[in-house]
Each structure stands twice: as C-alpha cells, then as structure tokens.
Amino acid sequence: MSKQKIVVVGNGMVGHKFIDNMIQHEAADQYDVITFSEEPRLAYDRVQLSSYFAGATADDLMLTSEGYYQESGVSYVLNDKVVEIKSDENKVVTASGREEAYDKLVLATGSFPFVPPIPGKDQPHCLVYRTIEDLEDITASAKQSKVGVVVGGGLLGLEAANALQNLGLQVHVVEFAPRLMAVQLDEGGGDLLRKKISSLGVQIHTEKNTKEIIDGEECRYRMNFADGSFLETDMILFSAGIRPQDELARQFNIEIGERGGIVVNNFCETSVKDIYAVGECALWNGRIFGLVAPGYTMAKVAASHISGGSEEFTGADMSTKLKLLGVDVASIGDAQGRTPGCLSYVYQDGVADVYKRIIVSEDRTKLLGAVLVGDVEAYGTLQQMCVLGMDLPESPEALILPSVDGGGGAVMGVDALPDAASICSCHDVSKGQICCAVQDGAMTIGDIKSATKAGTGCGGCVALATQVMNSELTKLGVEVNTDLCEHFAHTRQELYHIVRVEKIKSFDDLIEKHGKGLGCDICKPAAASILASCWNDYVLKDEHAGLQDTNDHFMANMQKNGTYSVVPRVAGGEITPDKLIALGQVAKTYNLYTKITGGQRIDLFGAQQHELPLIWKELIDAGFETGHAYGKSLRTVKSCVGSTWCRYGVLDSVGMAIRLEDRYKGLRAPHKIKFGVSGCTRECAEAQSKDVGVIATEHGWSLYLCGNGGMKPRHADLFATGLDDETLITYIDRFLMFYVRTGDRLQRTSVWMDNLDGGLDYLKQVVIDDKLNVCAELESEMAQVVGTYQCEWKTTIEDPEKLKRFRTFVNSDEKDNTVVFVEERSQIRPATDEELVRFVESTESEMA
C-alpha cells in the first residue's frame, strides 16, 4: 500500500502540534507529511513571544527542530507561502512555483493582526506583534523612540504595552471600548485593572477612536482622535484583534464564515473533501478560538480523523488566567454575566486592590463565570467548577471571600474535582492522568512533568498540578514527608526559622528542644549550615566541630584515597605573580598534585591530614585565605577580564567579581553558590550558568539568578536590568538570604527556583517590591554575616588545641600507610587498586 501524503499549510503552533500527533501515531509510517511555512523557521512558541524581550532567543522559543523533523521523516519547506489550492487536482502551489500533491490537506494558517483602516497606518514605525520578525522590528524601532502607543487594550495589547515598557518607552494604551479587556472582564474588573496599570506608569486612554496618523510636532507621529483630542508618539503598535488567515480558502471556494474563518465541522473538516482546517484560522460553530489550547485539541481531532479515529471537537473553554504588567487577571466562562437571570456576588478590597466576582445560575446551584483581578488564587477551583458544572457549595460567596484565619480555607480543595477535570489545558492532561502518574511512582512535580507533560506548556497549571499530586500522594498513604530525617520532624526551612527565632546557638540545644536521638550525617551538617548562616560562628568551635562533614571539619576536600585537596581563594580569578609563585612553592614543598580548576583557581591535591595546617601556615603567610571549596557556601565568582583590558568590555567585571566574592565569602547556604561576572554580553564568564550571574551593559548591570551548570544545566533567569553597583548588591543580599532562609537541604538555587511557588515573578515581588516586608531583615542578616567573616584557616592555625585535631594518629607520628602515590606526567596521583595490590605485595616481600 502506498503511503498517504499529508500536506500541512502553515507550521505555527497548531500545525506543528498536528504533525507531532501524526508522528506519535502508531501507524505513523503509513503517512508522508510535508509542511510549508511562510516564516523563515519552524514552529515556535508564540504564547511565550514576549519572553523574547526578557532575553529569550528565537532558539529558546522553538517548539521543534529541523533535526526532529528529519528524524521523524517529516519534510518541510520554509520561507515559501502556499498561494493556490488546485482542489480538483489535489495539489497545492507555492509562491516559488513548487507544486505538491496531497491526499489530505491541513490548513493551519493561523491568523494575522487586524490593523484598523486608519489613514497614515502604513508608516515605518507603525508595527504589529505576531512573529519573531515583528519583535525584531519593534526592538529596532524602540531604540529610536521615546514614546510608544499600543492601539488596543485587550489581552495582547496589554502584553505588548508591557513589552514596550520593558524596552524603556513611555507607554500609552489607546482603546476604542470604554474599558480594558472588554472581552474577558466586566466593568468592575476592567476598572481595577486600569487603576493598577495606570499606577505602573502606563497611561490608558479609553473610548478613543483614532481618525488619522499624521506627522507630530514633539514626536514622530500625532494620532488624531474622533473626539478632537490627540496624542503624540514615536511609534505605534497595533493590537486591535486578530483575523483568521483564510485567504487561501477564500480564493478556492472553501466555505468561509460571514466574518471570516474557515468553516469546519466537529472533525475539523472543511466544506471541501480531504481538506481540514485547525487552529486560529478555523471557524467552528460560528466561533474562532484565539487561544492555543483549543487549537491543540483541533490538531488532535484532525490527526485522529485522518488516521481513522473518531475524536470530535466540541468547543473549548476560553477561561484565561494571566499576569499583565505584573497584575494577576483571570476570566472564567460567562464573565460578563450575560446569561439570562444570572446572579452575582462581588468582593472588592479597595485597600489591597482586589476584585472578585462570581456569576451563578438563577437557582444558585451552578457557577457560570467569574472575574478575578489582583488575586487569582481561586482560579483553578472556579474554572473547574464552571467547566464541569459542579454544584456550588452552600454559601457560594465563600469562594471569593478571603478566609479570616489566613488559611486557604475559602477555596475548595482539589479533592472536590472529578478525575475528568482538565488540569493542564496546554497538553490536555486531566486530574485522573496526574493521579495515575502518582500511582505509577511519580513523587515530584518534575516526575509529573516528564510522565504527563502537564505544566510544560505555559506553566500556568503547575501549582494546581502540584496540589493534585500532593493530595494523591497523601491518599496513597505516602506521607508527603518533608521531615529532615528521623531526628527532626521539621523541614530545613522550619529549622532555620526555629534557630533564628529562638536564637538557638548549638546543635545539642536544637535537638534537645526540637528533635530526638543523637542526630546523623543528614541533620548534623544541615544544622551546622543553619547555625553558621544565622550566627556565623567559627566552624571548629567545640560544639560545632562534630557536626561538620569531613570536608568542613578539615576545611579541605577529601579525595578518593582519604587525602585532601587544598583550594585557596583567588577572588575573581585575579592573582599576582608572587602569589602564583607562592602556590607553586607550597605545592613543591609538600609534593602536591597541582591543577587549574574549572572555577578559575588552583587546586593542590594529595595533602595528608597532618600536613593541612603546615600548608595553610605557608599559604596564609603568602597572603592567601581559605577558598571554601569544601563548604556549602560561596565558591567562586568567575570573571572575564572586562573593560580594563578587553576592547568590548563596558564595565569592570573583575573589580565587581572581586567585590562580590569578598562580600559573600564564607556565607553558609543550603548548597554551594557560584557567581559569574561578564564585562559585556559576549559573556565570557558564563554568568548565565551560575546561581548569580552579572552581565555588564551600557545601562548598568543585568542580574541573572538561579542558573546551574552541573548535572542538570539551567539557564539563569533575567531578574533585573540597568542596575548600579549598590542596587545590584542590595538585590543579591536579599536574594541570597531569602534562599538561605527557604532553600531545602542541598538544594541549589536552580532547583529551589523551579520549586518556588510563583517562580520568578514571585521572587521579584519579594526581592524588588518587598512584598513580604522582609527586605530590611534580609539585609541586616546579610550585614551580620559579612561583618563577622573570619578566615577559618587563619583562626585554626593560631589555636594549638584545634591543631591537635589534624594529627593523623593520636599515638604516633607515622604516616597513613594506606595512602600510596605513583607518578604520572611528572606529578603524583593516587595508586590504582591494582597498583596498590602490587605495592602491598612488594612491601610484604621486603619485610619477609
């Protein structure tokens, strides 16, 4: 049987999803798929488009890759628009003249931004917001502009306004309707949103009908409005809605809706045999769906129908939850209260700026819709109640009233949701599927993501998915056990709090009051780290010494043969020739293996326990201090050479690296912390792979947080830009102390961030906006740590009692005879097992 040829016109989000469905299909080998895109690249994540302004690259946004298509046998043609369908010959023709025959044709042409027919709209700085190329144009235009206007105060318009504000423009939003987000919000919600957004410096002009765009006096353009008023601006971004891209279908007699859109039935078939339409170009039941989730469902339905399945598209929930310019907004179901006879409850908090309204059926048994502005915590529950037609609780108002006891009591728990409840709309994952994944062994949200894909789209469902997971784990009797170990029924975070609040200064005191038993190698180092973060005592104080891992105890890193490595601090990687010589001399004296580390410093390996103080005495005399290579604490601040020498450098990255390393050295944390500082965007210090990354720009420092190299690399998130030295340090102080407070045992900042409820935005609120009102505390805690720094090695070599700890044997000056070195490339290395056996045999025969 010859293969069926499927041609997909458009490789946007939905076209790609369709192809992915075909690839995953068990009978995938019976189909030949080819896709045409008029864009220069394969499908990318349009939903996350705005993250491009926050530093994401086109590569970051890609949903697929040429390699994946090639491996899966999918052909693709980029940069070539399909211009004709010869439906009588079952062929499409492209702009470049290529013809392609099809057995099935799938139109996934999406939509295009609607630009109102205003005279003067076709000028160079009048732009739209849809593709990566649009974003490049916007960025270029913003560079030459001071003021920007977004035409359209809907969802996309506000997102665009946010983008322009981040590009440093003074932003106006011009809206035809009397309020913002008129489609999704009611009057109360729209008003509050307007108030909040205005307070962020974006000026809102509603009920404005633009008549013409002419040359400006102060700015590049002037927009004249129908009411006689005007506004001057350097650039204009149209975001006045979308129109289905139905031009192909229109020209070739496929049925089109009255106001556009390719008419499809429940199987996504168009009026012409063998031609399907999916995504934003498709009109189902008189409706266009301008969101990605319904498009994905259509992609699934069409793929199923083509391969003989019977899935149907039966409409989609258009509820939305988003953050616009930092304001949480959600709209569910009949948000405007248009259902005849419906009733509504409104909760308004003028102080905290929260607006919530639920619309219920006449008999008060069902939820019809809701609007939430400022506090969207109830979204998950409300959306499910609405979509699934669940019965309302006795007093529906409880759903939106804040709970008095401060707990989340007002919201019905996830337990109330039936198994069919959709948790992740991006990937169509139900509560039941998440529960199954838990039953199959998933224990963390990471497991859930890899097992079900839930949470890997827009990410909006992660909180809800986590709740479902935890509740299912609890039901399975898996205690969602966050106890540190058998000695403490507390999390690290709780212990930290206890130590701070009760001013506990020793492990003995802590375990006596809050734990049981003797402790172990889990809780002791954790407690040691907490005590050190809080009080910064000398780590070898009698009451602390036994808590330390051997590395901290001997202030060196134990190697595979029981010897230690020594890593003095070389702040920022800058070192004088004299110090280099001194390192060489010490290494020579003690015959240590010497290596440049990945952290821009020098590691001396093979030191025996009793040699450590001798080595350190010499290093300290040469001006070195401990490098904490052994501690869960600041390691290195990697730097590039920066503006002092480099022809591209814009700021002194070495100077800043040294300043940061000196400030945070010795800070004990849940895990090790690494920094990087680069002098320009070429990023030679790889700062974006560090817990704290700092990159110089012409406008000041950009701060990146929570990156990681190591086992699971994670790019750091862009946290703030344009910072001066002092603000940079203030933010880092707060960030580090917040991590120290809340991180789990041995949790790097990357994992901490991935588990932080509310993620990056929340962290910004805490660190920049001081949402929790803790910044002053965090800063003073950091000041205390910085102020009490001591070089642990210096303290140690000055104390004869402590030096006794470094004796290899309490009763002999002999060396440890299990330690055997051999020579390789002119340096020592530990003997291998085979070499050891030979060594033991030869010494035994010598003795005999």
């Binding site: 036994g546 891992d549 051997t550 029981g562 330690v819």
Partner: protein
C-alpha cells in the same frame, strides 16, 4: 561473652585526646583504629572503610539510626554500627571492632594476641 578483664590492655592516648562526638585515629600494632566517645561511651572500630579500603572512618559523622549508634563513612556515606561493626547498607560487609576502656586518665585498647589467646 568474654569478660574485659581477660584482655591485656595497651594504653593508646590520654582521655583528653578523645573528644566527645568526634573521632580520632590510633595505631595499634600497625592496625588503624577509629576511636569515638558518644554520650560518655567509648567505641573502637577499624578505621578502614571496607568500600574504599581507605583509612577514613575516624573522620565520619557519628549519630544514631533506628536506635543504633553509627558512624557514616565520609567517602560514600555507608553507615557502620559502632557496637558490632555491621554495615546498615550491606549486610555482607562489616568492620572489625576492638574492646576499649578508659583507665586512670588513659584510653586503652585490648591487645590482639590477648584476644586470640
């Protein structure tokens, strides 16, 4: 069970050389012994970690797990019961234990020949 009085004892160090909750290492006829003092009780076990063959056990963290007093190897973190030398993670592995006592301000270990006798 043998009575500690049956052994002949060798003094290895001063009482003050063995702090509480932190191990030290001693040499006894060429064998490396890890000595611990936990809640007043003394323990002596081989200092050699059977998993790596390196003499690191005196440098492990001590504590208790499920009621047994243990030391954790600082290399790969297996736990050894100080009372009998058994390994919690692998029942086929154990380490040698040594009778130990404190006498007249000295720490004493039983001498091997005496045990054999």
């Amino acid at each position: 069970m043998s009575n500690t009085n049956d052994y002949s004892w060798a003094s290895v160090c001063e009482s003050a050389d063995v702090p509480s909750m932190v191990g030290v290492r001693a040499l006894l006829n060429g064998e490396q012994v890890a000595i611990f003092r936990i809640k007043g009780q003394l323990y002596a076990v081989s200092a050699i970690d059977p998993f790596t063959k390196m003499a690191v056990l005196a440098r492990g963290i001590v504590g208790d797990l499920k009621g047994k007093v243990v030391v954790a190897s600082p290399i790969y973190k297996q736990h050894f019961v100080l009372e009998d030398g058994s390994c919690l993670e692998d029942e086929t592995v154990s380490i040698k234990t040594y009778p130990i006592r404190e006498s007249n301000g000295k720490i004493e270990l039983a001498i091997a020949e005496a045990i054999a006798a």
